[in-house]
């Protein structure tokens, strides 16, 4: 996985990420112009809306789920585990955490951690379905994790509509999370109130940065991502890593889901939460853009959160629909993957043998 994005050190201007961002914004501008808007006005509204005044606070708030989901993706992608199930892991965890917060009585310092743990456990369990499906049954995780997103949508929708639904509500929602069971807020640098989840996300960034660079598990999982056969040869237990990493990624998904309800909206509203699953995909793109490295993930996560918050501002003032932000994000990834690829050339042939490879390159995705 990693090798796709590896690149040679180069100056900031010719850095692949810079070029990809430039290309995506350029294309985004063209799209605005073609659909009848003014790209310069739109982009300046976006920038101001994202990083000035209350916009900055909103951007940071929105970066909580995005950065956390990106960290979850980076765990898996670094190890070559193609987990596309962030959506489902989030939803299942969110509903569990919400229901614990609503139903369990007691003081906040008991209920809030309990809700978070419950959300994490169910998110992990949901991710384990795909992990064990691959390691025990032999069904590709890439496919099952994705299909399970749709199943999770159905399950949560059903539960919120029927057994857990607020009686008499016009739309599918749970009753509100009691004030004592909500994730607390803090004052942030005079910008206003901010969920303390931000602190935990920052801690997770640092934790993973250390784990990736300085621990044996970090090394082993990176090697699995670079070459499965090589890792097995060196005694790395690929199956155990797959299971553990998926559990961790699912747990983060569950935590994010729980945060979104008990820390932000205070109600699990079905339609709302399905819209929020977009964070899973934004997180995935952030992880790709940051080459799965935690500190760059933080930066890229804030950037993408800003794009979305700025998008709302742009829509209000320039009338350009905020979904342009999503278009630009996807274009960044397309540009990055298409343009900047290292082609590993085996330099120096094998003595007698010419450098002509005797097998075709890894055949991608055959049955």
């Amino acid at each position: 996985m990693l090798e796709v994005y590896r690149h040679r050190a180069s100056s900031a201007v010719t850095h692949p990420v810079t070029l990809a961002l430039g290309a995506a914004f350029g294309l985004g501008g063209i799209i605005i112009a073609v659909t009848g808007g003014n790209p310069f006005a739109a982009f300046s509204d976006m920038l101001l809306g994202a990083f000035t005044g209350s916009g900055l606070r909103n951007t940071l708030g929105r970066s909580i789920p995005i950065v956390a989901m990106a960290l979850a993706v980076s765990l898996a992608f670094r190890a070559g585990i193609l987990n596309l199930g962030g959506e489902g892991q989030m939803l299942m965890g969110a509903l569990t955490g919400t229901m614990i917060a609503i139903t369990v009585p007691g003081p906040g310092y008991v209920v809030v951690p309990l809700a978070l743990i419950g959300g994490a456990l169910v998110g992990a369990a949901w991710a384990l379905l795909s992990a064990l499906g691959q390691t025990r049954v032999g069904v590709p995780l890439l496919i099952t994790s994705l299909l399970l997103n749709y199943v999770a949508r159905s399950i949560t929708s059903y539960l919120v509509r029927f057994p857990f639904g607020e009686p008499g509500a016009a739309f599918a929602t749970t009753s509100p999370v009691p004030p004592t069971a909500r994730i607390p807020k803090m004052e942030l640098l005079g910008m206003g109130r901010m969920s303390i989840s931000l602190v935990f996300v920052l801690a997770l960034v640092i934790l993973l940065a250390v784990a990736y660079r300085r621990t044996v598990v970090g090394y082993e999982s990176e090697m699995i991502g670079l070459s499965g056969p090589f890792s097995r040869y060196g005694g790395v237990n690929v199956e155990r890593h797959t299971v553990a990493i998926m559990a961790a990624a699912g747990a983060i998904g569950g935590l994010v889901g729980t945060h979104l309800v008990t820390g932000e909206t205070y109600r699990y509203i079905d339609a709302d939460m399905i819209a929020q699953t977009g964070f899973a995909w934004t997180g995935l793109m952030v992880a790709l853009l940051a080459f799965n490295r935690p500190l760059p993930i933080l930066a890229a996560g804030i950037l993408f959160a800003g794009l979305q918050i700025g998008g709302f501002a742009m829509e209000r003032s320039s009338g350009v629909s905020w979904q342009l932000a999503q278009v630009i994000q996807a274009l960044v990834i397309v540009a990055l993957v298409s343009r900047f690829v290292v082609t590993w050339k085996r330099t120096g042939s094998d003595g007698d043998a010419p450098s002509e490879a005797n097998t075709d390159p890894a055949h991608v995705g055959s049955v």
Binding site: M1, V4, T35, G36, G37, G80, I81, L82, Q134, V137, G138, V139, P140, L141, L142, I143, T144, L146, L147, L148, Y150, V151, R153, S154, Y158, R161, F162, I224, G225, L226, S227, G228, V238, T242, W281, M285, L288, S321, Q323, L324, A325, Q326, V327, Q329, A330, L331, I333, V334, V337, S338, V341, T343, T359, D360, A362, H363, V364, G365, S366, V367
Partner: protein, 306 residues
């Protein structure tokens, strides 16, 4: 239960549910044979569904709408072809990005162009209509099931034997299979892998775009955000389960079509829509588990050999 199985109207709704998935899956199968891992069917279907409704609205004509659907999806397909074939980028990452791009583009353009959110119906309610085959459609059971479909429906069914003939009996088909299996060996013999892979990806774009047109202009008559709702992914699974063979792919698609139609039937009998929506995915997952021995090469890919 048995009565329901024999019910012609159930089977007619099976064919209806089947057609979009089948069209997309045939495209995916051609890519698979050419050695391109194609997981952007979902996004291309979405783009096709939107473009079909948009152009049918502007032109008041479903043929133009369908052509626009194919064109829009091919545009996305070319991103995959350029990125994965010419630039040797990771096809899985590109596929995911294309899917996100399609969702973003359609939900951006819907308010931007038509000033609405959520759903959009083309002016005059134009839609792809069914064309009953005179005489044949009167046959009990078989008539309503097989001879009362849209033009795209007939096309999809004819494409099954046609694709088989193309892949296994023609020069281009043979070379395409060779390219998919060992591109360097094919190149040594003078067959350009790039050209054949582009051909396959563009073909999958045309077919997935038409699948989208059938979905929006045919099955429902409106465009709705996220309306492909996983059908493109089911098509990807159908290619895997059917081992990229036309008969196998048709079989897998039939299974999903049946699950969807049966879900509708249960919904009619009062079962919650949230439950019946999950049915095709649950069936798909079950089929994957039952057919598990077949995915060793894809597993190699996902277990760290990307």
């Amino acid at each position: 239960m048995l009565e329901q199985l024999l019910d012609a109207s159930l089977w007619a709704s099976v064919t209806r549910a089947l057609i979009p998935v089948l069209l997309a899956a045939i495209g995916g199968m051609i890519c698979e044979r050419a050695g391109v891992f194609q997981i952007s069917l979902e996004g291309m279907m979405m783009a096709g569904a939107f473009a079909a409704v948009a152009m049918a609205h502007v032109a008041g004509n479903v043929v133009i709408g369908s052509l626009a659907a194919a064109t829009a999806a091919v545009a996305l397909a070319l991103i995959l072809a350029f990125g994965a074939v010419s630039r040797k980028g990771n096809p899985i990452v590109l596929g995911v990005a294309i899917n996100i791009l399609a969702v973003g583009l359609t939900s951006f353009l819907l308010p931007q162009l038509f000033g609405v959110r959520g759903t959009f119906q083309p002016a005059g309610g134009v839609r792809i209509t069914r064309i009953p085959v005179p005489g044949l459609s009167e046959i009990p059971f078989v008539g309503p099931v097989l001879f009362n479909m849209s033009a795209l429906g007939y096309a999809a069914l004819i494409l099954i034997p046609a694709t088989w003939f193309f892949l296994f009996r023609t020069q281009v088909g043979l070379r395409l299979r060779g390219v998919g299996e060992r591109p360097l060996a094919a190149e040594t013999l003078g067959v350009s892998p790039t050209r054949y892979k582009y051909l396959a990806v563009v073909a999958s774009g045309v077919l997935a775009g038409l699948a989208g047109a059938q979905l929006s202009l045919g099955n429902v008559g409106v465009f709705a955000e996220n309306m492909s709702s996983g059908r493109g992914w089911i098509a990807v699974v159908a290619v895997l389960l059917g081992r990229a063979h036309p008969v196998g792919v048709l079989g897998a698609c039939l299974l999903f079509g049946f699950a969807e139609a049966f879900g509708f039937r249960l919904q009619g009998q009062g079962m919650a829509v949230q439950v019946t929506d999950a049915l095709p995915f649950v069936v798909t997952l079950a089929a994957l588990v039952l057919a598990r021995k077949r995915f060793t090469r894809l597993l190699d890919l996902t277990a760290g050999n990307v």
